[in-house]
Symmetry: C2
Subunit: 203 residues, 2 copies
């Protein structure tokens, strides 16, 4: 069975519709997905950015919010901008990484929905705890595993790996042969490539 | 009849497949296109960039060239990287602007094909002259109109207009109600919006 990696960052706006679309798209194509949470911070820092490029370049930011709004409307997703933007995503990324398999997927989707459908602060345990509970996971135990030194080191290694394989933003779909597809608007292409070794549609 | 503006920059890589795709896509949807050549230089300068962001951020540049290669392969377009990149596009933009209607469209497509299918230097009259001739246009007269003070001022005004309406990159599709769709991968969305006032497809 073909597989692909879905690299996502909880603070990333386009990761929101992507995280809610990608599982069905992968299933349609018979592609097994590996969900890989990471942080864009180290990648942006390496490019000399100390904030989201959507804040550094306001015209780009205005465009992005409008484009995202159109994208969400078209697929029936609510959109509420969290304040501040970007949200601190370190804790959510550590928790997601410490979880395995379906729990990681379920928790990650709930985090994106809380953040961008409801505008909730995802840096707070008060937000994340109930989401963990909703997935049938004990919040206290999950936070403890998330904040362990081993898990912190593992997340750092994941970020280094992302940079190494050419992940330059989020979300990215990475195929087994090393092709990187960046953006919510490249999910279909990336999954077509994973399934067939080529782009399925003219775009 | 619905109409939309197609803003393009001759030095822009993604403007190449867009310029060769957009007319058929617009026709399918019954949208009349207005071709508006402009320069990204002033827009990039306003963001503090003195070169293409694809050169300033090498990881982004590597991603873009691979993504463009996949995009061109999928639609059967050759791709040859011009050296240097980006190419000086001022002369071609002035010539295109000085031409009207179908001549502008035909000349613009030939410029993109020369630059990115063959890797030819589009800053040279030696490249552009034969392309003008191939469109049935007298090259000497076209260059003279292009380099007139009135036409130079008109191109400056076009660049200012682009920034004013939220054109942040190239290509952009701008609809009558002021929506901006940035990128070769947003042509279908922009034209759907122009024709129907909403996005036609889930993406």
């Amino acid at each position: 069975m073909a597989s692909a990696e879905f690299w996502y960052e909880f603070a990333s706006t386009y990761s929101y519709p992507a995280a809610l679309r990608v599982a069905a798209l992968a299933e349609e194509r018979g592609v097994r997905l590996v969900w890989r949470p990471f942080l864009l911070g180290p990648i942006f820092t390496a490019q000399g950015w100390r904030d989201s490029p959507f804040n550094i370049y306001p015209a780009k930011g205005r465009y992005m919010w409008r484009d995202l709004e159109r994208t969400c409307t078209a697929i029936g997703l609510p959109l509420k901008r969290p304040e501040p933007f970007p949200q601190p995503s370190l804790l959510a990324a550590r928790v997601a990484l410490a979880l395995g398999g379906d729990s990681r997927v379920n928790f990650s989707r709930l985090v994106f929905a809380a953040e961008f459908s409801q505008g909730l602060p995802i840096g707070d345990r008060g937000t994340l705890g109930p989401l963990l509970a909703a997935c049938g996971i004990d919040p206290a135990a999950a936070f403890e595993r998330a904040e362990s030194e081993a898990n912190k080191a593992r997340l750092k290694a994941e970020c280094a790996r992302a940079a190494e394989i050419g992940v330059i933003g989020a979300p990215c779909l990475v195929t087994e042969d090393g092709e990187v597809f960046w953006g919510n608007d490249r999910l279909e292409q990336g999954l077509d490539w994973a399934a067939t070794g080529r782009l399925g549609a003219v775009r």
